[in-house]
Amino acid sequence: MSRLPFYLLVGLLMALGIGTSLHRHIQMEVPWTPGEQRQVWEVEAIVDFTALGNPVRVDLALPTHQRGYRILTENTASPGYGLSFLQDESGRRAQWSIRNATGSQQLYYSVRLQVTEDRRQRQMVRPALREVSWDRPYDTAAAQVIERAWMRSSDPYTFARELIHDFSEDRQGENARLLLTQFERTPLLVRLLNQAGVHAREVSGLVLEDGRRRQTLTSWIMVFHDEENWALFNPRTADQGQPENLLLWEAGGRAVLEVQGGTNSRVTFSMLSRSQPAAAAVRSQLAEDTLLNFSIHSLPLEEQAIFQTILLIPIGALVVVFLRIMVGIKTSGTFMPVLIALAFIQTTLATGLIGFLLIVAVGLVIRNYLSYLNLLLVARVSAVIITVIAIISIFSVLSYRVGLNAGLTITFFPMIILAWTIERMSILWEEEGPKQVLIQGGGSLLTAVLAYLAMNNPWIRHITFNFLGVQLIIMALIMLLGNYTGYRLLELRRFKPVTED
């Protein structure tokens, strides 16, 4: 009888569980601990323009997930305007529209971005080379500038660097100065790069600085080495690479803001940096509907709360399995302690313990009387259920009258389970005496308290709720425990006399 398939299955579950958890941690930036702080930027874009009394359409580029930043939430404020979000390969855009508007208009877009450790570069579509034509005498100037930079470079990146150097303040040559009189710096550089056969485009970025207001976008040059690799160049200093605090706002080579039916349009930005608990950041993350990112967080809040409890039950089961197989604790009813522990989560431990002991004690007394009536089993248990409900109601009302609101939580106890517990304890008392009742009742309570402590631990709640892969790991652990043929802890004591001879 080979155990290989068993270990393969356990290994598979383990690997799958750890894999999906790691994926969620790395890809989705879900932290391992609930208390971890994450830096979050709040950026607000304000679009100002003067409407001319005609239909207006405003088209604003929006940032996307990118290296170092992840979008958590976004909001807009634009009274009276219709709004839609568009997405194509060049990026995301917001489009506001209105039939009739006059005078000064303001549209707001705000986005919350989480700073991430993700250092991978985003895939961009390489722009096609554009046909470049110059008027005289700029054609010769351009050719000479390109020629000079070409000679001193070996690939697209070094060429771009040399070219930008030639346009920087201290090294501006005659040709560069001539070209700058006629053209804007950044479009001019892109034009020259294109002419030299280097794929490049102009992009707009926002330099994030805490507490800054009325900022504008700066332009940057994206130079492509080949189909996939690109680098960002600062057109003013020729520095290569994206600064840590640069958020690419528009990277598709299109205009940041397009306004039809208005004049004097401009967009300004204000920004604020905050730290917030990572768990909160995870919660507000936009749900991405792919299978691997499958998350309970995409459900409505109410269902999320239910799942938070459901996902804890395997932890309780693991505690029970461990205590029974490894320790050898006797409980009355296998998983009764888990249900009691779930009730403890609602009631808190102290009130829960007092409530449980009160209900079971009073229930045992009443059950003792019922046994004199000589009823059939089902009828007797049903009578005990009604008794338990009565006890719970009386205690709730009494504690409310006395002013103990904690007493009201007693209603969270699973009544039918309690009735069966009382019935079992009562039979145990009659047949094996009060000692066994204490052993099994105590074992059940101990198990329930340990399960409660495990299930109520903030870290475990965070892990089970945010990493579904953990459920597979628990499954694998339980299967491994189910395969354990060694001694139970309490057996080491039980069989001790055998070793004494």
Partner: protein
């Protein structure tokens, strides 16, 4: 207070987990459980296989029949009422003798016919059965147990538990009820367990509440003088239960009747581990040895094998068995 796992494993003690996975899980087909969980089925099957059991006076299956139970027991001086699906000795009522209208228990307590009716009614409604399922009450003839053994017990009938593994008797103990166990032969309730030598049926060691004991706590009788009459016959009867049920890991509860000899009382598909305590020895080496034996030996051969290999050293000295291979089995 605590033993090291290595101390236990060096003595071959098996724990609950190992028993459940390695023996019960592997050798006991769940399909066969009803044969032993229902004592009525066990009894009928035993009759078919020629294994003696206490005589069946009758069964009560419906509440209606409860009223007519007095006709059934008329003429019997003593009898036992038990639930067919009871476990751990629950719901067993022993009536030692009938005195006019009164039924007298071994403790001397007197019951009326109404008390009997209520007890049977409780059995039928499933009070004592596993999972509370409706049950059948069996009424059996009283066992006239051997006088020689009566001084070792207090009230109740002493029974002999033999573990049968793949048809081989591997370990045995006698369970003597005490005042502490309320006349029941359950070790965890305080009955005395006496380990028995498989070769001879003599006492090896006594325990109560998992601690060593040399005499019976109530009668004060020395346990070491205990000797089971017709020991080989009892082992053969017990070993025959393997063919009867097909269960590889089986606990057989036997009694010895003064007139009828060894009898099968009931079977258990999940026998407990306390027998290791009573014998002061682990089951593991014996089970390992039996696992190496081929299938297909008959009852007598298996019993002979067990008696030869599972004898305790003290007894073994006086026997000369030239073909006996030296083994690490005896402690």
């Amino acid at each position: 207070m605590w033993a090291w796992p290595s101390q236990l494993s060096s003595r071959g003690i098996i724990g609950m987990n190992r028993r459940n996975i390695r023996y019960i899980g592997r050798y006991n087909n769940r399909r066969l459980y009803p044969l032993v969980d229902d004592k009525l089925k066990t009894k009928l099957l035993a009759e078919k296989y020629g294994i003696t059991t206490p005589a069946l006076i009758g069964t009560v299956t419906t509440q209606f029949e409860v009223k007519h139970v007095d006709e059934m027991i008329a003429g019997h001086d003593g009898f036992v009422i038990k639930p067919a699906k009871g476990s751990g000795g629950k719901g067993i009522l022993v009536i030692e003798r009938v005195d006019g209208d009164a039924f007298i228990k071994p403790s001397g307590a007197r019951l009326s016919l109404t008390d009997l009716h209520r007890h049977i009614s409780n059995i039928l409604s499933g009070l004592y059965s596993l999972g509370g399922t409706p049950d059948v009450a069996m009424i059996e003839a009283l066992i006239n147990f051997d006088e020689k053994l009566s001084e070792y017990t207090y009230e109740g009938v002493p029974d002999i538990r033999v573990i049968i593994f793949r048809g081989y008797p591997v370990m045995a103990m006698m369970r003597l009820s005490t005042a502490a166990s309320d006349g029941k032969a359950n070790l965890h309730q305080g009955a005395v367990g006496v380990g028995l030598d498989i070769a001879t049926g003599t006492a090896v060691r006594g325990v109560q509440f998992d601690r060593s004991r040399l005499d019976h706590p109530d009668t004060g009788h020395e346990l070491s003088s205990l000797l089971i009459p017709d020991w080989s016959g009892l082992l053969e009867l017990a070993a025959g239960c393997y063919e009867m049920t097909g269960l590889g890991y089986l606990g057989t509860d036997m009694v010895i009747d003064r007139n009828l000899g060894p009898m099968l009382l009931e079977l258990n598909a999940r026998p407990g581990l306390a027998i290791q305590m009573a014998n002061g020895e682990g089951l593991r080496p014996r089970l390992d040895l039996v696992e190496k034996q081929p299938e297909g030996l008959d009852v007598k051969q298996r019993v002979a094998f067990a008696q030869r290999h599972f004898a305790r050293r003290g007894v073994l000295k006086n026997r000369s068995e030239p073909e006996l291979a030296p083994s690490s089995l005896s402690t």
